[in-house]
């Protein structure tokens, strides 16, 4: 019955052309972490019924995170104001030891002031990643004299549509043109 309902809402909308399909689809998870204003952010409640991009990354990431987040932000900025209002981007740091809330806010503001930044205990974040089918982040030993270290982490953007289900994830390498084709389609799913 639930599967049939999901199909009715999803099949009516055009399917996304890019990304990797999730089979079975992933329900919108329920978790609460601290947002960049220092307040608890109930992910399921705050994003229910909205097109939601969920990404795990860290601020010192030299390549994947800024490119992936930047590409989504660039394409979102090209949508109509109404469509922009229907989308939420949530960034969860996998490096809470270094990523303070103000630093997280400043980094996200570089892309979009409406992007949500969340921080929690590393074990909680790793556990959350596990529930989403992602491997836990690997925090390497410092490689530089100043204590700098890399964090290995899965880097797909998981997209939950308005029906509170994720059917597709977008790995690193997704181009702006791909997002531009898929986001309008994803906005129609579940409406």
């Amino acid at each position: 019955m639930i599967a049939a309902a999901l199909c009715v809402s999803a099949c009516a909308a055009p399917a996304p052309r890019h990304g990797l399909p999730l089979d079975p689809p992933l329900p919108r998870p329920s978790f609460t972490l601290t947002d960049t204003w220092g307040k608890p952010y109930d992910f399921a409640r705050e994003t229910r019924g909205r097109l939601t991009f969920l990404f795990f990354g860290y601020l010192n990431c030299p390549d994947v995170c800024p490119v992936h987040v930047g590409n989504v932000a660039t394409v979102l900025h090209k949508l109509s104001f109404e469509d922009q209002q229907r989308a939420t981007f949530v960034f969860v740091t996998v490096d809470p030891a270094r990523d303070s809330l103000p630093a997280l806010r400043a980094w996200l503001d570089h892309f979009d002031k409406t992007f949500v930044g969340l921080r929690g205990d590393a074990t909680v974040v790793d556990s959350l990643m596990g529930t989403l089918g992602l491997p836990p982040a690997i925090r390497a030993a410092p490689t530089k004299p100043n204590g700098w270290y890399e964090v290995g982490h899965a880097a797909p953007v998981i997209v939950f549509t308005a029906d509170d289900v994720a059917r597709v994830v977008y790995p690193f390498g997704t181009r702006q043109l791909d997002w531009a084709e898929d986001i309008p389609r994803l906005l129609k799913v579940g409406r």
Binding site: P66, V67, G173
Partner: protein, 272 residues
């Protein structure tokens, strides 16, 4: 160690890198040019042309080696545009001007080599070849496939330089001579031959999204976004390319019109 600059996907660093392939290629170019340029000087080529040629050798080196080489290969489309202009439009004519006499003397006058030389230096063939190479090497799928590989990146750089030499040969060396290739036709040739790169530059300028995956997905360059970089690349190709071509066309025009005026000038009456 990398022997040629290619898209590595690693974050950019200002620590200088050594690319042995670039140094070997530049040594070969410098030796070949040095030998020909000395012959050119002996045959009466000007000192200005001689030093212009050495400047071109330096420009080729700068465009292929660190930092422009690796930036162009994997980080900035704008650096790639500068590299294209240097390798295809700036360095070849400067090099050829300095060595045109020894090159003209070296063109075979008979046999299969003569036939090949006649074919490659035929202006229509040269123009078509230049534009075919320019189009092919700017197709996004080709760039994205070739630039991550050292051999692929080398092939694109070498093709641009070779295409530049082929394009400029009929204008600068002019051997084998062709009666129909007069000054107005030469100006038309140069104008037509470089229309394609102007078109590519326009596409880069008006595109709403980055065209090349290697630059879009490269570790970020903090100063500007991939799309801004692409617009800059289009602007460089468009404006700098036009400045080079129209600058040369202007010189050609005034030389030609001066010659025509000289031919039509009233002759002094014969003395008794």
């Amino acid at each position: 160690m990398q022997w040629w600059c290619s898209a590595s996907g690693k974050p950019w660093t200002w620590a200088p890198q050594f690319y042995p392939g670039v140094w070997i290629a530049m040594l070969a170019l410098a030796v070949a040019f040095g030998i020909l340029a000395r012959r050119g000087r002996a045959l009466g080529e000007s000192r200005l042309a001689f030093w212009g040629g050495w400047t071109a050798v330096g420009l080729v080196w700068q465009s292929l080696d660190w930092p422009i080489g690796p930036l162009a290969a994997g980080y900035l489309a704008s650096a790639h545009a500068v590299q294209f202009l240097t390798l295809a439009l700036v360095a070849p004519p400067l090099l050829l001007v300095a060595v045109r006499k020894p090159l003209a003397a070296a063109v075979p006058t008979a046999g299969r080599a003569h036939a090949v030389a006649m074919f490659l230096t035929q202006p229509i063939i040269a123009g078509v070849l230049f534009n075919l190479i320019t189009i092919t090497t700017h197709v996004p799928s080709v760039v994205d496939r070739f630039m991550p590989s050292q051999l692929g990146a080398f092939a694109i750089d070498a093709l641009w330089f070779a295409a530049g030499l082929v394009l400029w040969w009929p204008l600068v060396v002019g051997v084998p001579q062709r009666a129909w290739f007069s000054a107005p036709v030469r100006m038309l040739y140069l104008f037509m031959a470089t229309l394609v790169h102007t078109g590519i530059a326009m596409v880069m300028l008006i595109s709403r999204f980055p065209m090349y995956g290697i630059y879009e997905l490269a570790p970020p360059w903090e100063i500007w976004s991939p799309l801004e970089d692409q617009h800059l690349a289009g602007g460089v190709m468009e404006l700098a390319g036009a400045a080079i071509i129209f600058g040369i066309l202007t010189v050609m025009f005034f030389r030609w019109s001066g010659g025509v005026a000289g031919d039509n000038a009233p002759k002094a009456p014969p003395r008794d």
